[in-house]
Subunit: 393 residues, 2 copies
Amino acid sequence: MYNESMLQMGREPSVIRELFAYGAARKAEIGEDKVFDFSIGNPSVPAPASVARALEELSHMPPEKVHAYTQSAGDPAVRDAIAQNLNKRFGTEYTAANLYMTCGAAASLSISIKALLEGNEEVAVVTPFFPEYRTWIESHGGTLVKVLARESDFQIDLDAMEAAVGPRTKAVVINSPNNPVGTVYSRENLEGLARILERKQAEYGTTIFLISDEPYRELVYGGTEVPWVPDIYANTIVCYSWSKSLSLPGERIGYILVPPTVADWENVFFAIAGAGRALGFVCAPAAFQQVIARCVDEPADIAAYESNRVLLASMLDELGYEYIQPQGAFYLWIRSLEPDAKAFSERAKSFELLLVASDSFGVEGWARLGYCISPDTIVNSRDAFAALKASYA
Amino acid sequence: MYNESMLQMGREPSVIRELFAYGAARKAEIGEDKVFDFSIGNPSVPAPASVARALEELSHMPPEKVHAYTQSAGDPAVRDAIAQNLNKRFGTEYTAANLYMTCGAAASLSISIKALLEGNEEVAVVTPFFPEYRTWIESHGGTLVKVLARESDFQIDLDAMEAAVGPRTKAVVINSPNNPVGTVYSRENLEGLARILERKQAEYGTTIFLISDEPYRELVYGGTEVPWVPDIYANTIVCYSWSKSLSLPGERIGYILVPPTVADWENVFFAIAGAGRALGFVCAPAAFQQVIARCVDEPADIAAYESNRVLLASMLDELGYEYIQPQGAFYLWIRSLEPDAKAFSERAKSFELLLVASDSFGVEGWARLGYCISPDTIVNSRDAFAALKASYA
């Protein structure tokens, strides 16, 4: 009577949301400061004042200039402002014609995948990965192929990629700075990936798209370079959102960039516009397109995440936890103290520590700590982390 | 190398958008007041002052209270405000649990269709219809079955519906007040539809959903009743947006209502949540959810459409055009002066009159006039309409 797989998808509680809901209930029960919730990836830094100024400005404009339909790809002036910003930062020559505005990164990814898949083709995904990748790939008729990251540093494992990419590979999805690990792929690592994809394209006579999911692009620490992926591999499509950099996750505003280096890029852009239409997206929210045009040069405010990162890492160092040094995003990837990460996460809960087991991201043996939280939570969690460790002694 | 049907969908210019673009170019060429553009369905009445006040208020609130992720179904307080508004108007007892907030009516329809279709089932659509219905039904694997409206008054043709609904019918889509015709289905007509669907459900042992697409609900004239469809047929799902009633088409804000009368409604709601997730919708734009909570009781400002309707209808009466008396929305459906409506629309263009041929909506022999325009355009178009008529004498 209705679609069973949609029902399952709507029913099945996301482990992350479930843990977050548990945390909220637990805080109500034993007190806000007694629960150490590292489960979420919701920006704790508020949107900058320039967003509020832009909104106020829009509230004084003639409404028909603010709330009308835009072109389905977005207001050309807004797209032009974004192109200029990218050109300044990356020395590129993009124009409005390369940019398709979306309702956030989820829409960017879903639309891109829908636009590219011609049937049951494969999409290779560096693993661990954001769990919704599977949802969109499978919903649009494709097959997700896991490509495990190198366990030493969670960079792309080039041997594994070499083995995974075949004649049915339509696209590869990467996410750097990475959720859940916090790694940033090095230039050398990305160049290695590009060489593999170029060779495979030549070997199979196919086009393999690299979908670079970059909502955390500006959230990097210690001068880490985030290479501009389209400079390294021609057939790169960039999916972006301002959810993290401007702390606007609820507003659903982002873009798909189809650089002119992409093979047959104008038709790829048309296919993206067609996929947006097919899925029921009409245009990205109009007022927030205007907000973006006014705030596009605003730097991301990463000071709080940066100091949280240092605080959390030094505490874990002191307590002897093993983890991957985070370079970007606002996540830290910690080694589970037993092989079963779900059991580890459950035990952590008994110490009021909420961590997401790595199984949610497609691998075993680790857990994700989100540090987009109050520094007090980190400081106050010390005893709980110590007790958790001691419980395994 | 990319999906060909998405490419076609992105390439193929919508006739309406193409005509609108032609009009804009033509105005630049011969002067704004020399072109009579009836092609569009973009609200000409600006959003009410309460929207601007709400936006300004939001600009002074802590950003994290405005721009954060909401639940995927929407902020419970916003959904509750909408439920209260519906309950006051329709004597219902809806709660937040019956409402799933969306990025506008297009998203509402796409998500509902995706949630319901289990395979290649049929969706019966009263014809003429909004052309994107076909896009969403076919994109989600279904088959659109046209059910021609009665040509005398463009109400639902119950005999045609009886013949069209079969064991593979998953849903019927209606749109009242109607785009493109401007009719409002009478209570009697809807009761006839309900009897057919109830009988067919019993005969086939299936559930047949009635998807009631209602973005024009509040745009009605002369005291015409717009019956509350879920009161007439239990398995009704309502798709709504504030694009027309609050003139917010670019903001992409609407809802899906799954009333508790719908069979297994909680699971239908879950399937809708799953479909939203599968398509890449995360939540409806957060700030505009808050705007809606503040403006939900604001009446639609229909005075300008009402007087345009009278102006246009009396001019066409005087000139001897045949048309369907519009009761709602902001469209008037005029009989083509030759069997080929596309040729009629082309000839109208030579008189600087822009009308959309009925072929775009799935029928022949008519054209749509949108009267959400300046009254001056209507007044000044008189000679052109007279000349168009004379050219057929």
